[in-house]
Subunit: 224 residues, 2 copies
Amino acid sequence: MMDGVAIDGSSTSSDKPRRGRRVRMTGAERRQQLLDIGRTLFAERGFEGTSVEEIAAKAGVSKPVVYEHFGGKEGLYAVVVDREMRQLLDMVTGALTAGHPRELLEQAAFALLDYIETYTDGFRILVRDSPVAQSTGTFASLISDIATQVEDILGLEFKARGFDPKLAPLYAQALVGMVALTGQWWLDARKPKKAEVAAHLVNLAWHGLDGLEQKPRLIGHRKS
Amino acid sequence: MMDGVAIDGSSTSSDKPRRGRRVRMTGAERRQQLLDIGRTLFAERGFEGTSVEEIAAKAGVSKPVVYEHFGGKEGLYAVVVDREMRQLLDMVTGALTAGHPRELLEQAAFALLDYIETYTDGFRILVRDSPVAQSTGTFASLISDIATQVEDILGLEFKARGFDPKLAPLYAQALVGMVALTGQWWLDARKPKKAEVAAHLVNLAWHGLDGLEQKPRLIGHRKS
DNA sequence: TGCCATACTTACGTCTCCGTAGGTTACGGG
DNA sequence: CCCGTAACCTACGGAGACGTAAGTATGGCA
């Protein structure tokens, strides 16, 4: 135990540590650092598997500092999760704004994969279960949040096409589930490139196994 | 704490408790009872959230009995998880034996939903993460096991149709993910009947959003 | 230069829970 | 009817972790 980083436990993105034997950060800096470290540890060990002392140690600081900033382990965890959910929701919601349903699907799938790639630890945390884990704060509830948005879009489309709108939730859930679990798989596999994965997901969701296209293409995407 | 069931904590399916003040079961009986109780508790509180004492108490027995039978908490947990994985794998594998791909998909989807309905607690346990949770024993790994089977089927089909077989894993994962997460959602919603859910899932997977059928029908299924 | 707020420390109390040592009751066969 | 064995109990040691009380250093500002 006690791996590295005892004095000057820098993990923050941009730190000029004021080279001295013991780092004395401003409140905001330390807070941010603790959040970063917490996210990392929660991601790899889960909530219960991570101790406050461990977090403090990795920050090169003693326990009470953590309590000072977040009031306790749950406090820190709550902030970490909240930030992560916001991030993910923002990205996906942003991708679900305008366009033909197929484009929406494509953009949303890409957004999710993008989030997974960029904020891997965050995704891992969201996938694990939360402390009390009744129904709120769970991954399932987040998925449902997203699914609700997809639901609205599908609902409109269903009405326009004469389908039963009551079925929209089911199909929304299926679509989100498809993308989410594929993302989880891709997290370890990393085999096809992100954009390609998105293209194939859209291919499947849009044409089905029956009318699958051989070389699906993404219509348009912004970065990477 | 200490809810109900202190003496004669029966939870077993078929028990004639030999009415007496203190129940004295045979080894096998007690073992089975502990497994049942363990499954229930692990399902609702998770591994770390469940204490050996709690399990013992609910069985109307003291801690050392649990250690006698399983050597510890992890021992019990391992057996519970193993049984559940076997059950699920058997059901899904059984559904993936013969027939046209579409039928296979249909049967597998139905099998998973069936498992979820019948062994709800087990499914909850499998979905939660395991103790050390490196990569083995996780839900993700189980999903991958199932996905591998789907993969083989898809692989053949892909070759026959001239698609790149390297993509089979991706599509397999997507299909399994679709069904699995929809199942997880259905666990709380329970709105459409199981068979109907399966039908819609197949509808989506087979025809895609583009060619969705209004009233999909299951071709054939055995029970309920 | 001296003071004071802020960042941080050491040390401790307490609680929960795992796992075990050693003793006790009851069932069933000779 | 008696005794051994299988089922079960009380009691304890000890580790780990949360959270707090009270004290210390440090850096900016008057």
